[in-house]
Structure formats: structure tokens, C-alpha cells
């Protein structure tokens, strides 16, 4: 079984967003770039599966769309333990563009299990995984919080309102994963970092695909009014405010 993880290269979650070019863009220099948190968990789970002999995982590959500046993030994934990597040499435009680029490459060499994160922490689109599955015309399962492989069968837990469903779907398929899929993201060891330098990173050219949406500009949220402080000796006042002023209880 071969596993592919689609990685998004995103600003660190603590990044302060500064708008530039007349609010048409955000400042991209001086930012710490990281593997999208859910993709990092997906990679961690894929590596756990590879270490489990019953799962019979032969190879774990990561794929990313981006310019050369995305390579440190890819190398990090290799250092954590991916076997090889693909970088599609294109700047992401929208989710459809990204999914189409990924589909063009994946079609030539199908994987059994493709993992995507539930969203990327920059544009919060929740779109690439589902789009990719539709473009490849294969099944997808979303809101996945557990994946196991045993004797070639892939079993999955997906979240539903107030609980979960245990489902099974034949390969090839796309799973869109969220919290729970792995406990903590794995960290690269010194040895991993050394080995990553020699692992294959294949750069493939962009395909001529279109985008369906366009980001016309950004706005920052309006600053919030100051917090009204209530004395700890007068908790009742808080309840009065919520009841009479905010009218929420």
C-alpha cells in the first residue's frame, strides 16, 4: 500500500497578519512557514501505519504545491519520516487550482490512500481533499479521526453530530482528516534531518489548469471594545449584565 499526504505550506498559527499592496495581499516576508497542522498529523499517522507490519505500507510520499521557498517545509516532512516528496512548481491560486494540479500528477501514478487535512490554516477552505477525490473520481471520507489498515482493509472513523461512525471504503480513496487522527505531531530527529537531505524531492512543472475563484482583497477585523470588568466580590452583577444588557441569558 502506498500513501500520499498533501501538504500545505502555511504561516505559523501565531503569525500576525499585515496587509500590503492596498489590502490586495498580506505580508509574506518575515513569516515562519510550517506544515499545515492537520497535514502534520496526517503525516504522523501515515508513519505510524508504516511502522505497523500488519498495515503493509510500502511508501509514504508527501506532495506540495509551491515555489522553491516551500522546500524547507517539504524537507521538514522528509526529516519527520516521509520516504520521498514531490513539489509541483506552481503558486497556489485557489482550491480548485491546487486540487487540479495535484490530480494531474496523481493520475499518472495512483496511490492507494491519499490523506488531506480538513482545512489549511491560511484560507480555511476545507476544499482540496474533496475536490481532489472528485477530480480523480474516487471515494472520499471526510471528518476522519482514525485510520487503520489491516490485511488490506482500510477502516476509518468519521465524526458525525454527537458521535462517530466506523466506516470502510475500498482503496483508492481520499481521507480528509482532523483532530484525533494522531495524538501529537512527530518531531524530526537529528538523524532524520540528516537523512532528509538525501531523500528524493522531485520537482514537476505546473499543468495548465484554471482557477474558479479569485481573492480580490483582504480586511482586518474591527478592534473589539474594551472588556467590562466585574468585581470578583460581585458575581451577581455579571449575571445581571448578561441578562439585562447583553440579553443572552
Amino acid at each position: 500500500m502506498n500513501i500520499l499526504i498533501c501538504l500545505s505550506n502555511v504561516p505559523d498559527t501565531t503569525t500576525k497578519i499585515k496587509l500590503v499592496d492596498d489590502n490586495k495581499n498580506y505580508e509574506k516576508t518575515g513569516i515562519q512557514w510550517i506544515i499545515n497542522p492537520w497535514d502534520e498529523l496526517a503525516l504522523t499517522r501515515a508513519l505510524e501505519l508504516k511502522e505497523n507490519a500488519d498495515a503493509k505500507v510500502e511508501k509514504v510520499t508527501v506532495i506540495t504545491l509551491g515555489g522553491k521557498e516551500a522546500e524547507p517545509t517539504i524537507r521538514k516532512a522528509l526529516a519527520i519520516g516521509a520516504d520521498d516528496a514531490i513539489r509541483i512548481d506552481a503558486e497556489p491560486q485557489d482550491a480548485f487550482f491546487v486540487a487540479s494540479q495535484l490530480a494531474e500528477v496523481i493520475k499518472k501514478n495512483m496511490y492507494d490512500l491519499i490523506l488531506c487535512g480538513i482545512e489549511s490554516s491560511d484560507y480555511n477552505g476545507s476544499a482540496v481533499g474533496g475536490m481532489l477525490a472528485e477530480l480523480l473520481d474516487i471515494p472520499s471520507v471526510s471528518a476522519v479521526s482514525m485510520i487503520n489498515i489491516n490485511g488490506g482493509e482500510i477502516s476509518i472513523n468519521r465524526e458525525i453530530d454527537g458521535g462517530k461512525e466506523m466506516v470502510s471504503v475500498p482503496a483508492p480513496l481520499v481521507t480528509v482528516v482532523q483532530k484525533g487522527i494522531a495524538k501529537e505531531p512527530r518531531i524530526a530527529s537529528m538523524r532524520g534531518i540528516m537523512m532528509a537531505k538525501t531523500k528524493p524531492l522531485n520537482v514537476v512543472p505546473a499543468a495548465p489548469v484554471e482557477s474558479l475563484t479569485e481573492y480580490a482583497g483582504f480586511e482586518l477585523p474591527k478592534p473589539k471594545a474594551a472588556c467590562k470588568m466585574v468585581s470578583p466580590d460581585n458575581v451577581k452583577e455579571l449575571v445581571d449584565l448578561l441578562h439585562n444588557e447583553a440579553k443572552v441569558i
Partner: protein
């Protein structure tokens, strides 16, 4: 022409989320000079279907058939695409919940329709079709232009007011053509917790962080939540430690919620936590550190020891509820 809206059901029933969606679709249809058509998949009785008309659905397509009680993303996408074709849909609206997130991207590809997910408002312009959405987990908003003729939108829960109209809806059976080979998702087992207010549905959420010190201290949080008819939540370290179930974890990597009231107790207010709760209409912070960043995001705050304040809060809420 029409605006199609997918209304999921929960064991044959709709909930507030469904009515928000229909309200949104109705208003969008009004802007576009057309009407809203709801699609329901699975077994829903006619009197329940008819309720969608109260919020602006002009027509309700009811799709019934075997195998449609469990979500198969390819099957449901195919059904929705067929309904969109029959109704000449120029926009399809789904919820930004688990099901909507599973279906909307597939539908976007199938219809070659640009997708904007997690919208909270109607479009700011129709030509070009421009709509605002949160990006960077709430740290900014983006104005997104959809370039295609058909648009797919997912609406964030608790973000759109219900709109009541005179009910003129007609219900029609819709026979979708589903290839048996398309069913690939087998549901082997279901685990469900009944009787609790769902965190994403809740209008009031009481949430505890590491400042609660121990899972044994959660009694008053649960009591407060049940008194207020709300749900309980927690910060990530609390669920990572196993003090509370994962389903309660709110924030960037957990649940993203927008209740009317969010009460954060012993939560520092890290940026990743705020990413999940900043759309709440009111935030209350209780924390013993007056410098905690949660106070920057809060509307009301008390600086003090949660263990001392919580029992008093429970008592005061009791009194207000009794009056």
C-alpha cells in the same frame, strides 16, 4: 433559475441549522431575482419537509431511496448535481458542517462551480459575484470573487438570522438516477451520545481550560451549562490530557463555534483558542491573571479564582432563572 439549498436531516428531523440555511438561500434567491429550492435526501415526513417553507423555500425536492440514510459522498454529490441540473441552479448552498464540508468541494468540481466556504453574509456584489469569508482562522477577512456561472457556498453555523415568510412551498418527489456501483462507503457501526446539546448547535457554551486544575473540578461547569441549556467545551490541552473528550476541544484545531455566549473559565486565550471562538456574540472571561490575553477578546470579565467564582455564578444564574 434557482438557488438550491441542501437541507440535511437528523433521523428525519430538521434543526435550526437547516432553517438558517433556507433563510440564507431565500435571501440570496431574492437578490438574484429567483427562488429557493430545498433538497432533502432520505426519509423525512411531509409535515417536517413543509417546515422549510416557513423560511423561504418555494419548492422542496424530496429524494427517497434505499441506501440514502448513510452519507456516501459520491452518491450524495451525484444526487445534488442532478437536482441542480433539473432546477437550473445558479447557486448551491450547504452548511459548513461535517456533511457540507464533505459534499461542497465534490459538487464544486462536478458543476465546475467556484466554491466559497464558511461564508457568514450575503454577497457584497453580484457583478462580479463577491462574497466575504474569514481567513487565517479569523485574523482577517477575504473578499472572494467567484468567476463561474454557478456558485457553491457553505454557510457557517449560527451566522445568519432566521427569516420567516408565508409558507407557499410545494413538495415534489425527486427521482435521482443513482448507479449502484457508486455506493462505496459501508458504515459498520455507529456510536452516538444522545440527549446532550451539541457543541456546534449550542447558543450558550461554558468552557474550561487548564486553569480548572483537575478533571474533578468540572462539576460546576456542567451544572452551569445545563442550567443555561448550553453545552460544555474545553481548551486543547484539557482534551489532550484526557480531562474532557476530544469532541469538546474548541479552537483552531478543534471545533469552531459561534454561540451567543461563550464563557471561558481558566483559559488563557491563546490565539489558536480564540480562532475557534472569536465569532461568539459575547465572550465572558474568568481568569486569575488580569494580563491573560482572553480579556482582550472578552466583553465581560472577572479577575479571580475560578474555584471561588464558579459556585457563586451557578447560584446567581439559579436566581435569575427563578425570577
Amino acid at each position: 433559475m434557482s438557488v438550491l439549498v441542501y437541507t440535511e436531516n437528523w433521523e428525519g428531523k430538521f434543526k435550526k441549522l437547516s432553517f438558517e440555511l433556507v433563510s440564507y438561500a431565500g435571501k440570496l434567491a431574492e437578490m438574484l431575482g429567483t427562488s429557493a429550492v430545498a433538497v432533502s435526501v432520505g426519509n423525512v415526513a411531509n409535515d417536517e419537509l413543509q417546515k422549510l417553507g416557513n423560511y423561504g423555500a418555494a419548492k422542496i425536492l424530496s429524494v427517497k431511496g434505499t441506501g440514502l440514510d448513510k452519507l456516501d459522498n459520491q452518491v450524495f454529490t451525484s444526487v445534488l448535481a442532478q437536482a441542480a441540473a433539473q432546477e437550473n441552479a445558479v447557486a448551491v448552498v450547504l452548511s459548513n458542517n461535517n456533511t457540507g464540508k464533505a459534499l461542497a468541494p465534490r459538487l464544486s468540481v462536478k458543476l465546475r462551480a467556484g466554491l466559497v466556504s464558511g461564508v457568514t453574509q450575503l454577497p457584497s456584489s453580484l457583478n462580479p459575484f463577491t462574497i466575504t469569508k474569514k481567513v487565517f482562522s479569523g485574523k482577517a477577512f477575504a473578499n472572494v470573487v467567484v468567476k463561474t456561472e454557478i456558485k457553491v457556498l457553505t454557510l457557517a453555523q449560527n451566522s445568519f438570522e432566521l427569516v420567516q415568510v408565508e409558507n407557499k412551498a410545494v413538495i415534489q418527489d425527486f427521482n435521482a438516477n443513482i448507479d449502484a456501483g457508486l455506493f462505496k462507503t459501508t458504515v459498520k457501526d455507529v456510536e452516538k451520545q444522545a440527549g446532550k446539546v451539541l457543541l456546534t448547535d449550542a447558543e450558550i457554551v461554558v468552557s474550561g481550560g487548564r486553569g480548572m486544575k483537575s478533571p474533578d473540578n468540572w462539576g460546576p461547569i456542567e451544572e452551569l451549562a445545563s442550567l443555561l441549556g448550553g453545552a460544555t467545551a474545553c481548551s486543547r490541552p484539557v482534551s489532550d490530557e484526557g480531562w474532557r473528550p476530544h469532541s469538546e476541544h474548541t479552537g483552531q484545531t478543534g471545533k469552531i463555534i459561534a454561540p451567543n455566549l461563550y464563557i471561558a473559565i481558566g483559559i488563557s486565550g491563546a490565539i489558536q483558542h480564540l480562532a475557534g471562538v472569536s465569532s461568539s456574540k459575547y465572550i465572558v472571561a474568568i481568569n486569575n491573571d488580569k494580563e491573560a490575553p482572553i480579556f482582550q477578546a472578552a466583553d465581560y470579565g472577572i479577575v479571580g479564582d475560578a474555584q471561588k467564582i464558579l459556585p457563586e455564578l451557578v447560584k446567581a444564574v439559579h436566581e435569575v432563572k427563578a425570577s
